[in-house]
C-alpha cells in the first residue's frame, strides 16, 4: 500500500517534469528502485501528452467565440450605460415627442440653461439626453454636405472628450462604446465629403477623385488635425494617474482613435502624398479617353 502510494507520487512528479521538457529516461533515472516499472508507464503517458498537445483549434472558430463573448459582455454592461436613455416603451413615439419638445424649448430659449448644463455630461448623466438630442436636431437643419461633415467631426470631438472623462473615472467599457460612436461620426463625415471609409482598419478609404474642393479638404484637415491632436494629448495625460493594469486600455483606445483620425486625414490629403504615407485605393477614372 505504501509502495503503491509512493509510486503514485513518483509517477506524478515525473509527469510534471516531462511536461516541463525532461526526458522519460532522465526522470526514471531519478528513481532507480522504480525505474523498470516507471519507464513503460511514462512512455505511454508522454505519448498521450504529446498527442493531446498536437490538437489545435481553428482560428476562425476561436475568433467567432471571442466576438460572441465580447458582444455578450457589452450587452450585459449596456443597461448601466443606458440608465437615462430613451424610455424602452414605444421608443419611436418617445423619441419624436422628446425631439419636438426639445426643439420647441430650444426655439423659445427656455432650454438654454439645460442645454448649457448638459454640455459636460457623459453617458449615464441625467442631462446627457439633452446633449444628444441637441446634436440630432442640429443635423436635421437643412445645410450643405460640407457643413454636415463638419458637424460630424465636431460630434466626434465631443465623443472623444466624453471618452476621456469616462476613462478618467475608470468606466472603460462605456468609453469603448463611445470610441465606436466617435469612429462612426468620422465615417459619417467622410461620407459627406464623398469618401468611403472601410470597416477594416487595415484598408484605406476609397477615394473618388475631384469631388472635394481643395479648400474644403484643407479646412477639414485642419480641424481633424487639431481635434485628433487634442484628444491624443488628453489621453496621453491620463495613464499617469491610473493603476498600471488600466494603462494598456487607455493606450489601446488612444491608438484606435488616432488611427481613425489619421486614416481620414490621409484620405483627404492630396494624391501626391510622399511614399511613407499609408496607401489608399483610388477609383479608376471613368473614361480614360485613350
Amino acid at each position: 500500500m505504501k509502495r503503491q502510494r509512493e509510486l503514485d507520487d513518483i509517477l506524478d512528479d515525473c509527469l510534471e517534469r516531462i511536461r516541463g521538457g525532461e526526458r522519460v529516461e532522465d526522470c526514471a533515472g531519478r528513481y532507480p528502485v522504480y525505474r523498470d516499472e516507471l519507464v513503460p508507464l511514462l512512455e505511454v503517458a508522454a505519448a498521450a501528452m504529446r498527442v493531446a498537445s498536437t490538437v489545435s483549434y481553428r482560428p476562425e472558430a476561436k475568433e467567432r467565440g471571442l466576438s460572441r463573448l465580447t458582444s455578450a459582455v457589452l450587452q450585459r454592461g449596456a443597461p448601466k450605460a443606458r440608465r437615462f436613455s430613451w424610455p424602452g416603451w414605444r421608443p419611436r413615439i418617445a423619441h419624436s415627442l422628446l425631439v419636438g419638445l426639445v426643439a420647441a424649448l430650444l426655439a423659445t430659449g427656455t432650454a438654454f440653461g439645460a442645454s448649457a448644463a448638459s454640455s459636460d455630461s457623459v453617458p449615464g448623466d441625467p442631462l446627457y439626453w439633452v446633449k444628444t438630442t441637441g446634436e440630432s436636431i442640429s443635423l436635421m437643419v437643412p445645410q450643405s454636405d460640407m457643413d454636415r461633415a463638419h458637424k460630424h467631426v465636431g460630434m466626434a470631438r465631443v465623443r472623444g472628450q466624453e471618452m476621456s472623462q469616462l476613462m478618467a473615472s475608470g468606466r472603460f467599457d462605456e468609453a469603448e462604446l463611445l470610441a465606436i460612436r466617435m469612429r462612426r461620426h468620422l465615417n459619417q463625415s467622410a461620407v459627406f465629403v464623398h469618401l468611403i471609409m472601410p470597416t477594416n482598419p487595415v484598408e484605406m478609404p476609397l477615394r473618388p477623385t475631384g469631388r472635394l474642393g481643395r479648400q474644403n479638404a484643407v479646412d477639414l484637415i485642419v480641424r481633424l488635425e487639431r481635434d485628433g491632436g487634442f484628444l491624443r494629448a488628453r489621453l496621453l495625460d491620463l495613464p499617469g494617474r491610473m493603476p498600471l493594469s488600466e494603462r494598456h486600455r487607455v493606450d489601446l483606445l488612444r491608438r484606435r482613435s488616432e488611427l481613425g483620425y489619421r486614416i481620414f486625414i490621409a484620405a483627404l490629403e492630396d494624391g501626391s502624398a510622399p511614399p511613407w504615407r499609408p496607401f489608399w485605393r483610388t477609383e479608376p477614372p471613368r473614361s480614360t479617353g485613350r
Binding site: D8, L11, D12, P40, V44, V55, Y57, A61, L69, L74
Partner: protein, 205 residues
C-alpha cells in the same frame, strides 16, 4: 505553463478574474485567450467531434460570463471552476444527444497543425490520436476524467482534484491506474501496426 499554473501565471489569472468580476470587457478577452485552447482540447477529447467541441468551448465562456460574479477564489483555482462548468456542459451535451455515437476523432485530425510535406508524420499522428481516444474510452469514467483534465486540459493534480471534488491522492491513484490501463491497451496495438521491425520495448510515437 507546465503542470497547470505556476505562481506568476496564477497571479495573472487572479488579476483577470478580479477585473472580469468588475465587468471589464478586456479581462474577459484575456481569460478567453488563456483558456480557449485548454477548453477546446478538453471538449474535443470528451466528445471526439470538432464541431461539438467548438460549440461547447464557445458556450463555456458565455456561462463564465453569467456566473463569474459568484466565483469566490478562497484557495479554489479558477481553472478548476471553469473545468467544472465545461464538464457539466459536456454532460448536458451527451444527455441531449442521448449518448449518440461520436465521430472517432477523424475530424479532429483536420485541425492538427502540420505542413503539407509532413504527410507521413501526419498519418502517424492521426493514428495515435485515434488510438489514445479509443483507449481512453475503455477507462472508467473517473480515470478518463483525470486523464482528460491532466493531459488535454493541462491541469495540475491540485487543479484536477478541485475540479473533480476529490483529494490529490485519489487523483494520483486514478492517474496511475489510468496510465497502466492505457499502456496495456495501446502498446500491443501500436506494436502490431508497426510490424515485426518494431522494438520489443514498444516505445510509442
Amino acid at each position: 505553463m507546465p503542470g497547470g499554473t505556476d505562481a506568476a501565471a496564477q497571479d495573472e489569472v487572479d488579476g483577470l478574474v478580479r477585473r472580469a468580476q468588475e465587468g471589464q470587457a478586456a479581462a474577459f478577452a484575456g481569460l478567453y485567450e488563456l483558456f480557449y485552447g485548454k477548453m477546446f482540447r478538453y471538449t474535443l477529447f470528451k466528445t471526439g467531434d470538432t464541431a461539438a467541441a467548438e460549440d461547447l468551448t464557445e458556450e463555456v465562456f458565455l456561462r463564465m460570463l453569467e456566473s463569474i460574479s459568484s466565483f469566490k477564489p478562497r484557495g479554489y483555482p479558477f481553472s478548476s471552476w471553469l473545468f467544472r462548468i465545461v464538464h457539466n456542459l459536456v454532460v448536458d451535451h451527451y444527455r441531449k444527444r442521448d449518448r449518440q455515437k461520436t465521430i472517432p476523432l477523424d475530424s479532429a485530425a483536420g485541425v492538427i497543425e502540420s505542413s503539407p510535406q509532413d504527410i507521413d508524420a501526419q498519418l502517424d499522428l492521426k493514428l495515435s490520436i485515434g488510438q489514445v481516444y479509443k483507449a481512453a474510452g475503455e477507462l472508467t469514467k473517473l480515470q478518463r476524467e483525470v486523464i482528460t483534465l491532466r493531459f488535454a486540459g493541462g491541469l495540475s493534480v491540485l487543479e484536477t482534484a478541485r475540479a473533480m471534488g476529490k483529494n490529490e491522492n485519489a487523483v494520483k491513484a486514478l492517474q496511475h491506474a489510468a496510465i497502466r490501463k492505457l499502456r496495456s491497451l495501446l502498446v500491443p496495438r501500436s506494436e502490431e501496426m508497426r510490424g515485426p521491425s518494431s522494438t520489443a520495448k514498444g516505445s510509442l510515437v
